[in-house]
Symmetry: C2
Subunit: 114 residues, 2 copies
Amino acid sequence: MVERSAHLDAVFHALADPTRRAMLGQLAERELTIGELATPFHMSFAGASKHVRVLENAGLVKRTIRGRTHLCRLEAARLAEADAWLKRYERFWNTNLDRLEALLRAEDEAKARK
Amino acid sequence: MVERSAHLDAVFHALADPTRRAMLGQLAERELTIGELATPFHMSFAGASKHVRVLENAGLVKRTIRGRTHLCRLEAARLAEADAWLKRYERFWNTNLDRLEALLRAEDEAKARK
DNA sequence: GGATCGTTCAACCATGTGGTTTACTATAGT
DNA sequence: ACTATAGTAAACCACATGGTTGAACGATCC
């Protein structure tokens, strides 16, 4: 009965840590190496490495090894999954969006009927 | 430098567990007591109670005690915060939105230049 | 009052977490 | 060849997690 999704488990868990969210924020601007990710958080390489692995396991980051440096880039598809999950609850908080959706749907139907 | 948000920490952590996500799913349909929440997961009352507390601490559930039963209802505002955070990454997965943004920006600039 | 129901509390267990330090591998620069 | 650099691996720490059980508390029913 439990809605099982290892993806969502991993993604939400990865996002539950502020350091990791900040890392994603950095990666949204440009690709970064582990070292570049570690520096702003005055954290050891090994610490940053662990965080990156968590992000990687959640599918939020892809790594390409070039020489001795590991370049990390954001991979947002799994964020889309999380977003899709949240969307199911949108009606509970966003009445404006409800109206917008209704409006758009009405327009589409009008167009389809034209 | 770390983007600090205890709210987001708590919300994402609460969502990282499939049992809790399922509980929210149940609560999206109707208010439920702790016992009603516990039953479908063949889990002890105390276990369910702990999960509910996590959801409560994250602000995702509000509890009203009536007599000896505790009624839980979904409180989606904090989900909206999580959604807002995710929105910042929407352009990475939604190329349609990319184009829309580019279009709007171009219009704005044209207007500013007029 | 006594039994029962819904729930929490406290203790416990195994495991996971975020973080460190030290040691190691592998690439790069001189 | 020597050394410095980028990163991982492993061991460790203090603490949180998800789960259990058993006792306790408060409200309800007879």
